[in-house]
């Protein structure tokens, strides 16, 4: 059982790293006129880990993903931003998941996660730049986090229902 879980965590980490790499190949802000906007595909992995594993496992996957993808393609700044965004997103989704089913669906959880990710990144940016000027980007990013969060939430929901079909359990 432990080995199975460990394997799944490793696979999820690999998947998340690949998703962040793929995402970089197709910068969304070339299409949508919001600088810095990203699809947030790696968030699908975090959400999946939160629903099917535990918060601890999701955190482990997140930390490994951020460390690996920053080593592969990023810089110190990229690491700092992904870490802040990822952590805040994880906390927001973890909290809201407790009310999932009664209060909201997976889509609401995902939107909250996407918004929290942007807020976390902007907080990191404010610390890095030592100025609040970067917050000017936040309103646009927040508006975009609604459709993007819905897309990632829907993706995760589809994955989960397929997992249920093949009776997949950890």
């Amino acid at each position: 059982m432990q080995a199975k879980k460990l394997t799944l965590c490793g696979m999820l980490t690999a998947l998340a790293v690949v998703l962040s790499l793929v995402e970089r190949l197709f910068p969304l802000d070339a299409v949508v006129p919001v600088p810095g906007v990203k699809l947030g595909l790696a968030n699908v992995v975090t959400l999946f880990a939160l629903t099917r594993l535990s918060a601890r496992d999701a955190l482990a996957v997140l930390l490994c993903r951020v460390a690996l993808s920053s080593l592969l393609m990023g810089s110190v700044t990229a690491f700092l931003f992904s870490l802040f965004g990822g952590l805040l997103s994880l906390v927001a989704m973890w909290l809201l998941l407790r009310a999932e089913g009664r209060f909201c669906s997976l889509l609401g959880v995902s939107v909250a996660g996407a918004a929290a990710h942007n807020i976390g990144q902007i907080i990191a940016a404010v610390i890095w730049m030592k100025t609040g000027a970067v917050v000017a980007y936040l309103p646009f990013l927040l508006v975009m986090s609604v459709p993007l969060g819905l897309v990632t939430g829907l993706t995760c929901s589809v994955v989960l229902s397929h997992m249920q079909k093949i009776d997949f359990n950890v």
Partner: protein, 123 residues
Amino acid sequence: MRSRLKWGDFVVIGAVLVLAAALAAWFAAGTQGDLLYAEVWQDNALVERVALTDATDRTIDLDGHNVIVLSGKTAHMASADCHDQVCVRTGTLTRAGQVAVCLPNRVVLKIVGETGEIDAIVS
């Protein structure tokens, strides 16, 4: 499927949009004025402050890392040597309160507005 929308989803979406609108309004309200200035900040220190008029035509080169072009009452980041190019993609700033930020180089280009009280006294 766990994606069937519930009322809480709309609460979450609404909260995100309200937060976005509030921040946008706050930023727009803080920088009113008919006199426009372009400010270039690096490492949170003011490097340049240029009054923007119709005749403005200047290029500011920050050691080749960032090139800022001020043209008329607009400003834009013409180039940056970082990989993400977020500041360049931000495009042309035309109104007070707009900013273009280059995170890797810690450069901020912003347009600030000031009311022309001094002009009013002179005239």
